[in-house]
Structures are given as C-alpha cells and as structure tokens.
Amino acid sequence: MSDDQPPVEITVYENGPVIVRGTYKLQNSERNDIDPGRETIALCRCGLSALKPFCDGNHALRGAARSAL
C-alpha cells in the first residue's frame, strides 16, 4: 500500500458484523483469494452465518433467541 492511500476502514457493528471498506484483499487461511462480490463487505463475527466469511444476517437469529429467553 502506498503512503498516500487511505487505510482500510474496519468498523465493528454492535450485535452485527464487521464492515470492511477501502482497498483490501480477502483470502482464506490457505491464502487463496475470496471474491468479495462488492466493494463494501460485511464479515461474520457471530459464527452463525451460513455463508462465512460473509455475514448473512443470521446474527439476528441469535438476537431473537436471546430476547425470547
């Protein structure tokens, strides 16, 4: 990354995913590229996504289960 490029922005959302913006490279632990599909991506941090590493909204199920208890 050159010095004049703004840093990657990583934002943590309460009860939700991590959102990544900017110039980044997404890869798995074998260092194979993962196509992000869009510029701004949401990465799952609740573990419930069926489409990891992306967030698929499933974190809401945990929220629902919790508030039902």
Binding site: Y13, E14, N15, G16, P17, I19, G37, R38, E39, T40, I41, A42, L51, F54, C55, D56, G57, N58, A60, L61, G63, A64, S67
Partner: protein, 337 residues
C-alpha cells in the same frame, strides 16, 4: 406502457382526463376528491386510490403511451395527486405510533429490533416449505411493480440530505445499481428472475392483476421520495426494507430451489442475502443514525417512515396469504375481454 384500466370513479375520471391535453381539473373529479376523505376508510388498501396514485407517480418514472409528457409537472395534476396523498398520508399515520420513550440516539437499535422481527414469519416459512410454483409466480408478479424499479425512489432522497447520511445512502444505492455494472442492477436481476419463471419482465404488463396491497409498497416509496418534508421517511423506508432482508431472501431462495428454480433464477434472492447483510448495518447506523443526529428536528420522521413501511408490508402479506388459505388466487381477476 399503456394506462391501466380504472378501478373506481376517481381513476375513471383521472385516466380519461390524462388522455387529453393538460388542463383544468374536470369538476366531477374535483367533487370525487372533495368527498374522498369520507369515502375511503383506508386509502392504503383502496384500489381506486392506489391505482390513481400509481399512475400519478408513473408520470415521473416511465410515463404512459398516449399521455402528454407535460402532465408530470402540470399544477392541476399535482393538485389532484396532492388530494390523493393527503388521505394516503392520513391513513398511513393512523397506523403508526412512535414509542413515547424512544430518543434519537436509540433509533438505530430500535430499527434493527423492530424491522428485523416483524417479517411475517409464517408467510416466509410457507414460501420456503409449501408454496406451489403457481403461488411463487404470483408473488413474483405482485412484487414486480416495486422490484423492477428497485432503488429508484430512494435515489430521490440523495439530493435532499447532506453529510454522513448522504454518503451512506449512496453507498447502499451504488450496490442497488450493481456497482454501475450493466446487467447487475438489482432491478435487472429481478427481470432475470421473471424471465427464468417464464414471466414477462416488461414493467407494468401485469398491472391489471396486481392488487392495491402490492401497489401501496411502491406508492409509499414514491410518496416519501418525492416530498422533501418526508426525507426522513424515505430513509426509514429504506432501512425497513434492508433490515432483516437477508433472512427474507434466504427463505425465498430456498423456496424457489425446492421448486426446481435454477441458480440463475435465484440470483436476485441470493444477491440480496449478502448485499442486505451489509445494507442493514449501513442503513440503520450510518444512514439513519447520522440523519437523526444531524437533523434533530426530523428524527421521528425516520421512525414513522420505517413503521409505515412495516404496516403496508403486513397488509401486503395478508393480501397474499388470506386468499391462498382460502384456495384462491392473490391476483386480481382479469376482466373478460
């Protein structure tokens, strides 16, 4: 697109008027509009009101064959639209209550909670597990009147807000429009869905069969989007559309897969599972959160916009589920030719 058939006295008079030169409001139409506040109990589900609004707004989207383009900004037409909107707004607000203890700082969390939870769970499960292909196609037809213009009404919000809310709105909208790549626009993915199901993706071809309860989904966005005083409302509408949408689209995608739908046909739904997981955060926190902070006098408009959206969505779900439960179609019967 041709003008649709009328569904009552107002649309009869309105469509006849629109077929001529722009001019003064004919007095029978004025009388009908004067009586409208008493004549309709709920403009949200009134076929005559909703088809009339859809045509008034349609002048601003694609227009109609044989209808003079100057009608769009004709003051007399805008006055008629305004009279329809006044009852529409009255009945929207009657269904909505901003919680007394809600404060601007709690709006993002409130939106996440309320909009995520209200998706009609039984309806989604039915689509996922039981709907027939005919029923699935009915749903695709009814939603087409909104989905083939997906994103457009929210775009009208862009020049009306500034700063962080605008940036977040554009970030969402860019995705709605496929990042600017032709063929990737969400509206185009919907057209692909329709084609794959052997339906006609041309806008408006199914209008006669689409009931008020589906038109209102689109009319609500147009109403909010075209009025600056409802700029908070159009943001709330977008937030209510995005939040929980991933789960809704997952149900639809799985339902279509169960019915043998191709990967291509499910592209629209699958794209929304991932896109809207991003959008719901941006919409609730970055867009609405910033708007209520930066426009403190209008913060409750965001909430009203979201709650009104949920109320028409519930109306829509009932309009589909109730006839199905009775073994009937959710579409309007076509008049015999």
């Amino acid at each position: 697109m041709r003008l649709p058939g009328p569904r009552g006295p107002i649309s009869t008079a309105l469509f006849a008027w629109l077929s001529g030169e722009p001019g003064p409001v004919p007095s029978p139409l004025t009388d009908l509009l004067d009586a409208l506040p008493q004549a309709t109990a709920d403009a949200r589900s009134d076929e005559d009101v909703q088809i009339s609004l859809w045509v008034c707004y349609g002048l601003t989207y694609e227009g109609f064959d044989g209808v003079d383009e100057r009608w769009e900004w004709q003051p007399t037409l805008l006055a008629v639209r305004g009279a329809l909107e006044a009852v529409f707004e009255r009945d929207l607000l009657a269904e909505v209550q901003v919680p007394a203890d809600l404060t601007p700082d709690k709006v993002p969390a409130f939106l996440m909670e309320r909009c995520g939870a209200t998706s009609p769970a039984a309806f989604l499960k039915f689509m996922q597990q039981e709907a027939t292909i005919e029923q699935f196609k009915e749903l695709v037809i009814t939603r087409s009147i909104d989905a083939l213009h997906e994103g457009d009404a929210h775009t009208w919000g862009i020049p009306r807000v500034n700063g962080r809310a605008k940036a977040a709105l554009i970030e969402i909208q860019a995705d709605e429009y496929g990042g600017g790549m032709p063929g990737r626009l969400h509206a185009e993915l919907y057209a692909i869905l329709m084609s794959e199901l052997d339906l006609d993706p041309e806008y408006g071809v199914y209008i006669e069969q689409i009931p008020a309860a589906a038109l209102v989904l689109h009319n609500l966005r147009s109403f909010f989007g075209l009025h600056r005083r409802w700029r908070g409302g159009i943001l709330g509408n977008l937030a209510a559309t995005e939040i929980g949408s991933s789960l809704i689209n997952r149900h639809f995608s799985e339902g279509l897969a169960r019915l043998g739908g191709s990967k291509k046909s499910r592209w629209f739904y699958d794209e929304h599972i991932l896109a809207d997981a991003v959008h719901e955060q941006l919409a609730a926190h970055d867009m609405c959160g910033a708007f209520v902070a930066d426009y403190p006098a209008e913060w409750d408009r965001v909430v009203i916009g979201a709650l009104a959206t949920l109320s028409v969505r519930a109306l829509f779900a009932r309009s589909v589920v109730d006839p199905w439960a009775a073994g009937a179609t959710s579409l309007r019967e076509l008049a015999p030719v």
